[in-house]
């Protein structure tokens, strides 16, 4: 499976902004109208750019406006932040929180040993039977598809409530994730993933890696149709030992998907 684990993920940028209302209102009506047009066009251009996945959001509570962007090229991601800032409205956006991470395949993903064990022990398939070879092949295809979806994520386009938070694993004096054995970590993450899967259809979860890129170790982006599902999945997962004992959480940011055409109305510009 190492070739899957080594697959090179895509850079992912989250940026959250406050609007400097004093500056925005200081512009005259024509400048503001032009500023909205320019910004709306810039958002639409990013959204339709080849290779770019781009989600503008209206922020709630901690931020007023936010974007999430996924693109294979780090240079494009770097310049995207500057492009937004360089617009007229962009000069009224004060960065509140920024986060760089990259998509990855989880190292705890099941591999051939897990598959063989499951076929032999759970399904009573003889290890040298044609059924075994076929079963192994089915597993490989399923996992390859899953791994590809992790390393080359396709953001949902229909779930409009979006939550982002960074996290890390505890390195306490008594409880330290990084001194646990691999198999213990794999077991804990497996149980944790089950809780998440119980929310399939209600919450889509994207985990991206940021060790070395940010102060935290992972970024979590949740997409849902409703706020309660986001509250419920995070609350229920907090009781899993992987979270209860080892999870450290950063700031939580909430927004709703913003149609560029609604920019002026949604943000009362």
């Amino acid at each position: 499976m190492s070739e899957l684990n080594d697959a090179v993920g895509w850079p992912v940028l989250h940026q959250f902004y406050r609007i400097d209302r004093a500056r925005w209102r200081g512009l005259d009506a024509d400048q503001r109208a032009a500023g909205i047009s320019e910004f709306r066009d810039a958002l639409a251009a990013c959204a339709s750019e080849e290779g770019m996945q781009f989600v503008p959001m209206a922020g709630i509570a901690k931020s007023d406006f936010a974007v999430m962007a996924v693109h294979p090229d780090l240079g494009r991601i770097q310049r995207l932040g500057q492009q937004i800032a360089a617009t007229e409205l962009g000069t009224c956006l004060q960065p509140v929180y920024s986060f760089l991470s990259m998509s990855e395949v989880s190292e705890y993903m099941s591999g051939p040993t897990d598959w063989a064990k499951q076929l032999i022990e759970d399904q009573n398939v003889a290890p040298d039977s044609p059924e075994f070879a076929a079963g192994m092949e089915r597993f490989r295809q399923r996992i390859e598809k899953y791994a590809d979806a992790r390393v080359h994520p396709q953001l949902p386009t229909d779930m409009d409530i979006i939550c982002f938070y960074p996290m890390a694993k505890r390195r306490g004096e008594a409880q330290n994730w990084y001194t646990l054995e691999f198999n213990e970590r794999k077991r804990l993450m497996g149980d944790h993933a089950k809780t998440g899967r119980a929310f399939a259809g209600r919450v889509l979860q994207l985990i991206t890696s940021c060790t070395g890129l940010d102060d935290w170790e992972w970024g979590v982006t949740l997409f849902s149709h409703d706020l309660k599902s986001i509250r419920d999945v995070v609350y229920e997962m907090r009781f899993d030992p992987a979270s209860a004992v080892y999870g450290l959480f950063g700031e939580f940011y909430i927004g709703t998907r913003l149609d560029p055409a609604d920019l002026g109305d949604a943000l009362c510009l």
Copy 2:
């Protein structure tokens, strides 16, 4: 009881602001008068909006002005923050603290098993008697009413001193709320609730949930007629094991209810 636990609560927004006095005083007298009018009307419109519960406050110490808003629709809550910011006075309001949460029914609320136990053991009612069925029905109605008041809260309109703070439960290396058994947590929260109920009439307490929505896990809003009651209830509850051992508290914000008509006087605008 699961249908009660699953009831979808309402989004709740708390926003605390400092007034940028330099900018406000930079406006001329006419602009300021118009700004006060515009803002007063905006507050009054929100307060009378169908489905909206809206409490403007004059802040003390940490903030100058604040609002609390409850509305079933998250989109309305999102736009409300922008509406305030988009006014002339709004451009002089610098966000100090913002908090998004949602109303919920406590998972530790008593259920049929608790009721039956109370009827049989405390009141000596035979489990197959008509008295038992009637008792169970009384409990169910009482709890349903209580649950509805939690998930669809009606903010008080007469208690004018308002305190807000966020909280979470400790996940320490030795003392971890999230690794306790459900029944132990229920017992601790039951004792804690008793302390709170001793302040009935003096302090009205609204607990809202924010796991996944904010860095904390709950928001607490206290309404009272006097400051000492707020000091007393928080101080006394701090000795309950649920708080003493497991409670983590964020920043405390205090304000007094602001009649929009008094806006200019109360804030010396």
Copy 3:
């Protein structure tokens, strides 16, 4: 003694500011002169206001200017902050730290049981003697006077160096003030108070309560004629178990009493 413990204290506000020198110097000479006059008059008016105790300070290090105010009415305290901010010089004051607390009678104050014990065991007075009744009455009067001085504090007018800091009691996983028995807490606080009393005449100490009103649990205001006494009392008290093991301290602010007439000179306005 419960009627003493229940006595309703007065709200106390501490506000610390930086001066925005760029804005101040941007005013022309006439505006500055008028601004100093206006502010000096506002300070003087507050200082002489019926029911108000008001201490303006020149800050050192962390702040440039500060005020401390005590008034029975929370609404007056709320408006006071806005009054200061609404002046010309007020628009040049950037809040650095703000703290709301209220005066209180300590729950660890001695009561009839302590008095009787002291009379019988320390002074060999027979419990049914007229001396005992007289002794109890003397204690009651002394404590009532002391309690009244705590709940209705009179700020000193002659000690010109003023220190403020907030504090809380530790709720650690091994050492938790809030899980100690009342008598153990009373004993620790009694020892602590002795250290403080050794500084009588050198340092006047006002403890105000802020649980539920601020992130901390108490505010400490020290008044002295000299800086070393403040350094000494805080340093010596730090070795008392009540502080050494259980004390948590916030930021320390230092200032010197400011005569409104010296405003311009002291702050180089």
Copy 4:
């Protein structure tokens, strides 16, 4: 080896900035064009200055622009920061993070005792043989070259993705790096260095010392051709006991090498 350990390293400065877009856009087109020219020339002059090693970067997420500079003279490093700030574009740069450190030779570097042990025990060389003397001399030369590369570092010019973060060693109540014996620390750092060497060619790592110069104890600068290598080396090293148990990490900053000629395009100026 003490003369190597005592070698005086070079001061190293890292500076990360946000661009104040409102101010930049407030300049007219001519001023901006002149500002870009002036800044581009200043960057180029620094880059070609005798004795100076200078790396300008386009920041991602946490910063917009950054520089790293190495120079033997602290005074030159001090003035460099002011030179950048004193340009027109420099007045639009708001410092986000600054870090002063100096290059050093690791105290855990192998010395004559280690070499002799390796020759005698691992390579079966007799301690009084000519082979032993030759082996010791080879070690000495290799280590001297290595030490010189540490104390007089030459920054790579081809690896374009650059990561910086500060770190310290834990001084916990149960796990305290500074109470470990030297040999235990040396062993832990030796294992840790092996993980790092496995990334030779993919990641170049520069460790600089800052105890006494900054809140942290070391600065780590990583150079790579690709983002995943940076993520991988930091993630893998986190499981080494030296990091897992004793490592404390500050903020992580990421940037890409900026050719001064591309200044305007890369930053959308």
Copy 5:
């Protein structure tokens, strides 16, 4: 020795600033020239003021400009900060960090008991001999001179690299400085002082007390001819148990002594 311990030290102020370059560059050339003159004269006047010790610095990394001032009168120290702020260049200085402390004699300084022990046990002097009396007198004079140098410090004028940091002693749940016996603390501080003395000539160290005056308990100012000596002394002392187990460190600030005549050049004004 109590009269030495009770000696009243001098207030010490450290102030670190960022230069607001946008504001400075907004002044025209004449205003800037006048601003430099005015500020240079103000620095020179402070430096030559009777009773004042005054060190202006060019900051590196965390600050651009800094001053350290020692004066017997707290009121003079208070006004000094305002004087700097009230100049034209002062309006462009944004406070980054401020620290008030006072010089003191260490409570762990040796006293008559230590001297007698040293004479009798180490030097075999008979306690009732004239040599003993003479030895005690020599100790007394030496310590009085040392104590006077601590309580009335004379800042060096030749060491041009200056480091400042605040510190406190740990009050952990397992390791608490403030619950140690006096003799254990004295022993730990004695060992710690030895490490410091090994740097005599390379580093001059001034320890000032700030319990009650600042969030920390001591301020440390290091003067040296070279950066590596500062790095070395702080690094080596970190392994002393007094630091390794009990030391808590705040932010470190580094600067170089600034000759007022070089103001414009050093800061590129």
